[in-house]
């Protein structure tokens, strides 16, 4: 599918990856990807969340070893044993959340593990001088003796870039480097990249925001579901074409939403604010309705769910659940009022991995089952079975440890656990993350059925087809605010991405 229009190379190919495949356990995240990074060129790797961009970046940076495919540096095949090996070969990976050591000085953060020495001891004076030199080359002034704690993300990224320069890196891979930067900081970074480009560095740039991509990058490759769907020069494309590449996908495996039977408002959120994560969030979800909350990573969607559930305190605003007002509430109060939260990170927050299915399945109603502080196992197992049967969890028996189940079935146990509390509002955070395609459809079916049975569902998802297929309404968040609302009939992938990434409609339709 690679565009035939890719014009002659702008520089020598420094790093090339050919036919790279990667899987984590049973989940294939990259299939047969080939990219080339050329001297003096910024090559954007684009795609939705979960498309495989960061995995590819980590492979290029030596963090992961691909299961198939080859890397070549200046035409010679190489294997990378780790990030240090990559760095030694001149490939530096700059992370979204920079890898800095808060209690060490700026200078040491640049040179950690390879400080200049004199007569066997670290030469602190030379290290500080060199640090200043490399920071100056980036046009940055920082107190190199001061500890890094307290510096902004942008400054810490400059420290990583300086570290890369000090290694004389030929290849720089910027993994979502701009995601947490302010517009002013992005401008500064972009100037730094121009400078590095002029020096002949080959740069891979992973990002989301169209505006940035089109101002910074020379070449654009788009990934979707682990496949490369296209590559083009910036000058030969436009935002609209790129968006189409990013989202255009078959939707045949998705469920029928059917006509929703809407009831009264079950969840009413008014002016909810928790600075600096989100501000003035107002939304309502009716019984039987599925509302999708779309947006980029870091837009504040998960924070909103956490605040509704009472996990985080808010500065101001009101949450009401079927008439019950929740103010300064904790999760126990929220559960009492009828709210259930299925968290994003199953491994960390959703399940107790070594425990059995029934222990996990009855967890949410443990306090209710307890008599004199003790829980009768038999009742707990019966209750858990209600949940697992209703959602058709595939398992050997309920004594099985939950970690032996597939991601999809684990998620069903988690949802089933909450159903036992008879919730009226179900908050879902990335309900199908890390779940393979077939099982996704199962989870989708469950969500639709729950809505049909009268539950109000508020779903955060970065999977656009999922949002489009399930949601009766889609709210889009950007920078901690709801920036657009789409009704089901008006919602399009392009529209949502444009709203989420801040591209103007004019750009999208240009």
């Amino acid at each position: 599918m690679t565009s035939a229009a890719v014009s002659p190379v702008s520089g020598e190919v420094i790093l090339s990856a050919s036919h790279i495949s990667m899987r984590f356990g049973p989940v294939e995240v990259l299939a047969d990807i080939s990219v080339e990074l050329r001297a003096g060129e910024v090559h954007a790797l684009l795609g939705e969340n979960g498309a495989g961009k960061s995995t590819l970046a980590k492979i290029l940076g030596g963090v992961y070893k691909p299961v198939a495919g080859k890397l070549a540096l200046l035409g010679n095949e190489i294997t990378l044993s780790g990030p240090r090996d990559a760095a030694a070969k001149g490939i530096a990976l700059i992370h979204q959340e920079p890898l800095t050591f808060p209690d060490l000085s700026v200078a040491e953060n640049i040179f950690i593990g390879r400080q200049p020495t004199k007569a066997g001891r670290i030469d602190w004076a030379k290290m500080r001088q060199d640090a200043e030199k490399y920071l100056a080359a980036l046009g940055v002034t920082l107190d190199v003796s001061a500890p890094v704690r307290g510096l902004s993300v942008a400054d810490r990224q400059m420290i990583e870039l300086a570290s890369a320069l000090s290694l004389n890196a030929k290849v720089l891979i910027l993994d979502e480097t701009t995601a947490s930067l302010t517009p002013g900081e992005v401008k500064k970074l972009s100037a730094v990249l121009d400078r590095l480009k002029a020096e002949g560095k080959a740069i891979a740039f992973i990002g989301h925001r169209m505006e940035e991509i089109f101002s910074i990058c020379d070449r654009i490759s788009v990934l979707r579901d682990g496949l490369k769907v296209g590559e083009t020069l910036r000058t030969e494309t436009n935002v609209d074409a790129i968006l189409r590449w990013m989202v255009g996908r078959d939707v045949h495996h998705l469920v029928e939403r059917g006509e929703p039977k809407l009831g009264d408002v079950a969840l009413d959120v008014n002016g909810l604010t928790r600075k600096p994560r989100f501000a003035d969030i107002s939304l309502s979800v009716k019984a039987g309705e599925i509302v999708g909350l779309a947006g980029l990573v870091g837009a504040g969607r998960t924070d909103v769910l956490r605040a509704i559930f009472g996990l985080d305190t808010v500065d101001s605003g009101l949450v009401a659940v079927v008439g019950t007002k929740l103010v300064h509430h904790d999760p126990a109060r929220a559960m009492e009022a009828g709210v259930a939260l299925v968290p994003e990170d199953r491994q960390q927050h959703g399940v107790l991995m070594p425990q059995s299915i029934w222990e996990n399945g009855s967890l949410a109603i443990m306090p209710r089952l307890a008599k004199l502080g003790l829980v009768d196992d038999k009742t707990a197992r019966q209750k858990s079975a209600e949940g697992t049967q209703r959602l058709a969890v595939k398992m050997r028996d309920d004594e099985q440890a939950i970690r032996e189940l597939s991601g999809g079935n684990q998620q069903k146990v988690v949802i089933g656990k909450w159903l036992l509390t008879n919730p009226k509002v179900l908050l879902l955070d990335e309900p199908t993350r890390g779940i393979d395609v077939g099982a996704k459809a199962e989870v989708h079916r469950v969500i639709v059925e729950l809505a049909q049975s009268g539950l109000a569902v508020l779903m955060v998802s970065s999977d656009l087809p999922e949002v489009l297929a399930l949601s009766d309404r889609v709210l889009v968040m950007r920078g901690g605010q709801i920036v657009s609302t789409f009704d089901r009939k008006d919602a399009t992938a392009e529209g949502i991405i444009a709203a989420a990434s801040g591209a103007t409609l004019a750009e999208v339709t240009a």
């Binding site: 240090r84 890898l99 050591f101 040491e108 670290i122």
Partner: protein, 332 residues
Amino acid sequence: MKKLLARRELSLVLAIILIVGVAIALQPRFASEQNIRSILLWVPLLAVAAMGQTAVIITRGIDVSVGSILGLAGMTTAILLRDYPQLGVGGAAVIGIGLGALLGAINGGMIAFAKVPPIVATLGTLGIYRGLTFIVSGGRQVDDYQLPKDLMNWSLEGPALLSKVPFINSIPWVVWIALLVMILSHLGMTYTRYGRDVYALGGNPDAAALRGIPVNFVTFMAYVLCGIGGGFAGVLYASRYGTVNPSGIGNGFELQVIAAVVIGGVSVFGGTGGAPGVALSCLLLGVVNVALSVLAIADTWQMAIYGLVLLVAIVADERFARSARKRAGEAV
């Protein structure tokens, strides 16, 4: 960070002055030469063992077996000197320290390579090493008349070179040895890549791995250093007390060592602190120790007081770290 450390060191010095002042005001006998000697001779053991523990705690680990390492190494050294006096004090000391390194390597191997949590691994070896101390000694103690005079002299005499200098000439070898160990530790932690790797690992373990620091080796070596410190302290113990009893030597010493390190400004959350603060805190604990005994507060209180001071220091560190993160605008 320098300012912060300086502040910690300053408060330690003030605490030492305060305790000495209060003790002198209440009981003039405190200032006698005999008392000062008594402090000086206990502090070196603590300081030498604490230097290795410092590296371990900076990496976010802990070694609770250090008292048993001291015990087994000290006991072995004493037995060797009793049964094979031809080894000489130096030879036996090297064996004692080498044994400490080996015991530390066992801890480090389990923690760095087998990924056993530090508290579990070293709690296990705390028991094992103590048991071995009984086994090698047959449960019998070594008495001072069985040990060579040279060994005792480490705690009695100073270098011949300084014998003419007033006051200084009364400072025995063990103090000079401990000072040397502390200076080397400070230089090692400040001026070698290994030392800096220890701080990096403790400050941000994930970043350390991704920045290519040999995380397993750095962890392993921290426990080896801790073993060396414990082994060396065991040799000094034999010199200091003369009588080496398998159930007495180093028993409960881990609490004192860990207290010294944490009070000295090494955060149990890793990444900060260093030799100067720990050295001062060893001195502080020594002063407290002597003050308690001069003020006729029963020995039985000592453990409880160490434990209390340790908890106060950890809570203070935690609060301090939180406020530092808050100021830096990080998640608390």
